[in-house]
């Protein structure tokens, strides 16, 4: 009985963690290439959630089909923010780019508040369930996990098999080196910022397939926090590290929820959110450059 519950929880955790990991890859990509922390990360996830919601409710588009739209919207947003703000701040003090990405997040939140009000919304996409006996997995969640894994693999292939991807990897290693090899480093910056934002908006779509409710303009804050925990777990500059960090985080989050629910007097939902913050501090205390990364 307890074993069934546990394995059920672990499985749910891994599946959620996969989506979390995908939701952090954009953050890591941007940090890896530009050395900029996107403090407004969660707001872009929120945008993805509204893309999925609007396409589903207004046009009847199934959420997985919203992914390409989300990628396009995200990349466009990324380009706009890059050329209007980020680009001019790369040479300046770190403070400047932190404040700028933070402000980008606030702008998105406020725009979405005007467009959609601050009321929490949700949608209902019935796709059936997979009953494993010890746990039940809705197909939508499986699809979200599959989608996340697929995107992770595609990103990997793009990085390792295409010219553009290899150029970007060079920039991660050394922008000076890349520059002398004839790579247009400024364009790589713009591109990776834009792809990073695109991936993040897409992850917002996938997250709604997991949790199709509670969509509101200010939902991003807790995802920013989670993404930071995951990114720091996996090494801030590594998108794949982020993916595995996500898996670990999903497991821990699910496990801690189950644990907190056993303790009388605690609100497990709120405690889980506190826990992710506490975890962040502990990881930063132990090894700020990433727990999972090999020494």
């Amino acid at each position: 009985m307890i074993f069934e519950q546990l394995s059920g929880n672990l499985l749910q955790g891994v599946i959620l963690g996969g989506v979390y990991g995908m939701a952090t890859m954009g953050l890591s990509l941007i940090f890896g290439v530009l050395k900029v922390v996107n403090v407004g990360h969660g707001a872009f996830i929120m945008v993805g959630a509204y893309v999925a919601l609007t396409l589903f409710q207004t046009f009847g588009v199934a959420p997985p089909l919203a992914v390409p739209a989300a990628m396009v919207i995200g990349m466009a947003l990324g380009m706009v923010f890059y050329y209007s703000a980020i680009r001019k701040l790369l040479k300046g003090p770190e403070l400047a780019s932190l404040l700028a990405t933070f402000s980008c997040g606030v702008i998105l939140e406020e725009v979405c508040k005007q467009l959609f009000t601050s009321e929490a919304r949700g949608y209902n996409w019935e796709l059936g369930k997979l009953d494993l006996g010890f746990t039940v997995l809705p197909h939508a969640k499986l699809l979200a996990f599959g989608g996340s894994a697929l995107i992770g693999i595609l990103l990997y292939l793009w990085f390792h098999k295409t010219r553009a991807g290899m150029a970007m990897r060079c920039v991660v290693e050394s922008d000076e080196g890349a520059r002398v090899c004839g790579i247009d480093v400024d364009w790589e910056y713009a591109l990776s910022f834009s792809i990073g934002i695109g991936l993040t908006v897409v992850s917002g779509v996938l997250l709604t397939m997991f949790i199709p409710v509670g969509i509101n303009p200010y939902m991003g804050g807790s995802y920013t926090l989670k993404a930071f925990v995951i990114a720091v777990l996996g090494g801030l500059a590594s998108p794949y590290g982020a993916f595995f960090g996500g898996l670990v985080f999903g497991l821990i989050e699910n496990g801690s929820y189950t644990l907190f629910a056993q303790i009388p007097g605690l609100e497990p939902f709120a405690m889980t959110r506190f826990f992710s913050f506490a975890m962040l501090l502990v990881i930063l205390l132990l090894r700020p450059t990433g727990l999972l990364k090999a020494k």
Binding site: F102, E110, E267, M271, L280, L281
Partner: protein, 332 residues
């Protein structure tokens, strides 16, 4: 002390501004709410600037210190009002607010201040949320239900005094915090602390090589700024409203406002936060009439514009222009 009293002349424009604000409020009670709001922003800006402006680090979880200060006052009044301490509960409340914010700043600072740049931001951004959910999750201090203590305040100090406290003295305390923050900023600027912070803001590694224990000075600025925030929360929120909910007092948009105020005026200057607060406060007041709900939407792009176009802020620019004029002595 550098050049004796003359080094402290810039406190005059600060004092004059606050006296003028107070004067307007007293003469025209209809505008008292606006004046009180402006004083709150002045205090918020001054206190926030003491850390962000002087160190160049941005604490995205800053509002947590206001929140926990609010709880300091609330807890004192809620639990001690029947002990016959009279107005003493308010004083104890202020002390508790300072102690709570000190404690939280030590805990956060111990982790975050060892980290540089981006990692510092990452460590602080969740502090307000993390603390809010700790209170709610573990049901500390009534958890999400908050503490409502208007009855306790009346019980403790009497109806009349309670009334005067929340309608008048709370705001006067806010002025006090604002002025205290300005004085501390100037004292720091004129002493070794200020030079250490200036050095580490420019180049932390070079500062270390010059013999500056950078962690120590960052902690000094962090703690000072946090305690001021705690006192501000205790007066502007707890004493004035006589209730506290975690979802209200840990809301990140107060941090956003603090950032806007400091950047508008000029980070690291003495007068900048005042200028920023008055500009932002007035703009917000009128926007609330003309375009309700649009303040942040308008000001967030303003932040970006400032960082890109004139990172020194208004007073920062003025300071450079006036450096060699007689006015320059007052503008820092």
């Amino acid at each position: 002390m550098m050049n004796g009293y003359r080094a402290y002349l810039p406190i005059l424009p600060v004092a004059a501004t606050y006296a003028l604000l107070l004067g307007i409020g007293v003469v025209s009670p209809d505008h008292w709410q606006l004046i009180a709001q402006l004083a709150f922003y002045c205090a918020l800006g001054q206190a926030f600037n003491l850390f962000m402006g002087m160190t160049g680090y941005v604490d995205f979880g800053y509002v947590a210190f206001l929140g926990i200060g609010t709880y300091g006052m609330a807890v004192s009044i809620y639990t001690l009002s029947d002990k016959g301490l009279g107005i003493g509960v308010v004083l104890i409340g202020l002390v508790l607010a300072a102690i709570f914010s000190l404690g939280l700043s030590l805990a956060v600072g111990a982790v975050a201040l060892r980290l540089r740049g981006a990692y510092f931001a990452i460590a602080t951004i969740g502090v307000n949320e993390g603390f809010r959910y700790l209170l709610e999750g573990a049901r500390i201090w009534n958890g999400a239900d908050g503490i409502i203590f208007s009855r306790h305040l009346r019980q403790g100090v009497g109806r009349q005094t309670a009334m005067a406290l929340s309608t008048w003295w709370a705001d006067i305390l806010v002025f006090g915090v604002a002025f205290l923050a300005a004085v501390l900023t100037l004292v720091y600027m004129r002493n070794k602390v200020g030079y250490a912070l200036l050095a580490l803001r420019e180049d932390e590694d070079a500062a270390k090589v010059m013999g500056i224990n950078v962690t120590r000075y960052k902690i000094i600025a962090f703690i000072t700024s946090a305690i001021l925030a705690g006192l501000l929360g205790a007066s502007a929120w707890a004493l004035k409203l006589t209730y506290v909910y975690p979802s209200d007092v840990f809301a990140i948009h107060y941090t956003v406002e603090a950032i806007i105020i400091v950047l508008l005026g000029g980070a690291g200057t003495l007068l900048g936060p005042i200028f920023g607060a008055l500009t932002y406060g007035a703009a917000k007041y009128f926007l609330a009439i003309v375009l309700p709900g649009f303040q942040l939407l308008i000001f967030a792009p303003v932040i970006i514009a400032i960082i890109v176009l004139f990172p020194d802020g208004t007073v920062g620019l003025l300071k450079k222009r006036l450096r060699d004029t007689p006015l320059g002595k007052f503008i820092i």
